[in-house]
């Protein structure tokens, strides 16, 4: 029996967040999740609720990964923090695609 995971998704596209959740559900997880896309909403989410894990999208415009990571750390939170790299990220490894 798997424990329900509380997942914070730092992502500016609702569609991509839902896609990620569907993927996790296919893998057998049953996450409770919330999407945030600004530093302000991230700060609020971290202050108001507890989380097991954070997912983030590297190509986010509004909120840079280093800032998000720093915020989590500043709050003294010790979460696994996953940075996803999306394929259609224009800056992503042109030499490899």
């Amino acid at each position: 029996m798997k424990r329900t995971l509380r997942m914070l998704i730092i992502e500016d596209s609702e569609e991509d967040a839902q896609f990620l959740v569907r993927r996790l559900e296919r893998g057998g997880s049953n996450p409770i999740w919330k999407r945030v896309d600004t530093l302000k909403s991230l700060r609020a989410a971290l202050a108001e609720e507890t989380w097991d894990i954070a997912f983030s999208d590297y190509s986010m415009q509004a909120l840079g990964i280093p800032d998000a990571l720093a915020l989590v750390k500043d709050r003294g939170l010790d979460l696994p923090f996953i940075v996803l790299f999306s394929t259609d990220d224009p800056g992503a490894g042109p030499a490899l695609r």
Partner: protein, 253 residues
Amino acid sequence: MIRLQTKATRHDLKWSFATALRACRGRLGISQEELAGRAGLHRTYVSDIERGARNLSLQSIDKLAKALEIPVSTFFSRLNELPQSASGTFSTLATDDWVDILLVGGDRDDVKLTLRAFNNANLANRIYVVTDGVEALDFLFRSGAYAHRWVGDRPKAILLDLKLPKLSGLEVLRSIKAEPQTRMIPVVILTESPQDREIAECRRLGVEACIVKPVDFLRFAMVIPQLGLQWALLKSGSRAYSPDHPRAGPALG
């Protein structure tokens, strides 16, 4: 990939024999077809034997030994010294077993916790552990202690710690992404306190994701294995393919 020997383990005599046979044939550098021809056996029969799927007769063993010009005992002298996981107690898989996930971890305690957590999460994945960068490349490129692995046996995903003895995780990553044979394997990076530079480099090299490990590794071990690794295939699955595309197929968790 459908394999007949999925239930064979390194404790299985047929599988041990298969391993010894492949190693002996490999040393001579001949194909399965050629071995079959020399031994007067059918090609698919030899192929089955090498997959550990046949309980062959003494006569067949004799034919194979003659074809390889070795004493019969060679097949069995290896049984007690079969190369097991070079990383010792970590993995129950032999060095030439097929694996789902290659876990490249520098910290032995973390590796133990991770493996235990994957087991507890009831993931059927076959995880092989290597504990330094050089061994990781040996495993992937079939050199050193892994020279006898099959060409087609590549892990479905690699979990790669950046902090490794002997050769850094980034160097290992560069090698993986520089070779056409390994470039397509999804790589998930594990790192402690990532430099922006490091993450940017991972992105440039085309990894699927970075996991920033919590200081308390238990938090990692409690969460990540539960997720499986389906999400790591997101990149290949998200835009270019529909979720039900065959590429999304490998059941990683």
